[in-house]
Amino acid sequence: MLITCPYCGPRDVIEFTYQGDGNRERPQPASQNLDAWNAYVYDRLNPAGDHNEIWQHSGGCRAHLRVVRNTITHEILSTAFARGGHKSADNRAEGRS
């Protein structure tokens, strides 16, 4: 599996570290909304198809990336720097609620 890092170009998956589901919206640290925290910790879409993910190019430029990967074919549909605040596959903006 190759992931195309926006900085380094196509690299083997061995250089990358999976940082988890990219659909989560982390509540503010001071938030006492238990439903929001519960959703952040436990709720996953678990789709059979295109999936928003966060990866880190830990064995290269070390940038955090927003990756859309197909969970059935492992095709990488898009990669972008996570820092950019790009919209994800389901058009949900990077959440900070």
Binding site: Y7, C8, R11, D12, E15, G59
Partner: protein, 200 residues
């Protein structure tokens, strides 16, 4: 200015550093391995949005003009610079003291300066089979069009991080952690045996 008494640097490669020709060199030596021992190895990082100011500081202080583009770099004899991550650059000088030269220019508002002179070991591989040997270690394209002169790459070998700069058409400078340098050097020597190598 008070005279500085810097400790003499010992090479981590020393017990395994054997100058001369080795391996299958009966038909000629196809790669030359050496430790370049630069006096200064710095990592410069710009905060987001401050990259252009940092590139300008590198031009003023080190006299090196970074080309545009990810991984761009320039190698000019005693000094070299290359991008290894977004907004981050490695700057190398044969002489010591480059960190002091940058210290006044890189303010906390622009970014950070980390002196890695004692933390990295610089290994040079040169010769007609340099690309061939490098390709055995790193899963990146070493062909000249994909990896132009002066450019830098961040990658790893067996989870050991390495920064590579192309400092000549058939020459690469590899920066590895000092603590892993001897192990990497031994592997590099083994990988070079088949083409015949000389340690200088």
């Amino acid at each position: 200015m008070a005279e500085q008494h810097l400790p003499e640097r010992q090479s981590p490669l020393e017990p395994e550093y054997h100058p001369g020709s080795h391996g299958n060199f009966e038909h000629g030596v196809d790669v030359i391995l050496s430790e370049t021992r630069p006096g200064s190895i710095l990592q410069l990082a710009a905060w987001p949005g401050e990259e252009k100011r940092l590139i300008e500081i590198i031009r003023k202080v080190a006299g090196l003009a970074l080309p545009d583009g990810a991984g761009g770099g320039v190698s000019s004899g005693a000094r070299a610079v290359f991008g290894f991550a977004p907004g981050k650059f490695t700057v190398v000088d044969e002489a010591e003291g480059l960190a002091q030269a940058f210290a006044g220019s890189i303010t906390p508002a622009i970014g950070t300066l980390t002196d890695l002179s004692h933390g990295r070991t610089a290994i040079r591989i040169a010769g007609p089979k340099a690309e061939w040997v490098m390709a055995k270690f790193f899963a990146i394209d070493f062909a000249l069009p994909a990896f132009p002169l002066g450019a830098g790459r961040s990658t790893n070998h067996h989870d050991v991080f390495a920064q590579i700069q192309r400092s000549g058409a058939d020459q690469f400078d590899i920066y590895v952690f000092r603590s892993f340098a001897r192990s990497f050097w031994k592997a590099l020597c083994h990988a070079s045996e088949e083409v015949g190598y000389e340690v200088q």
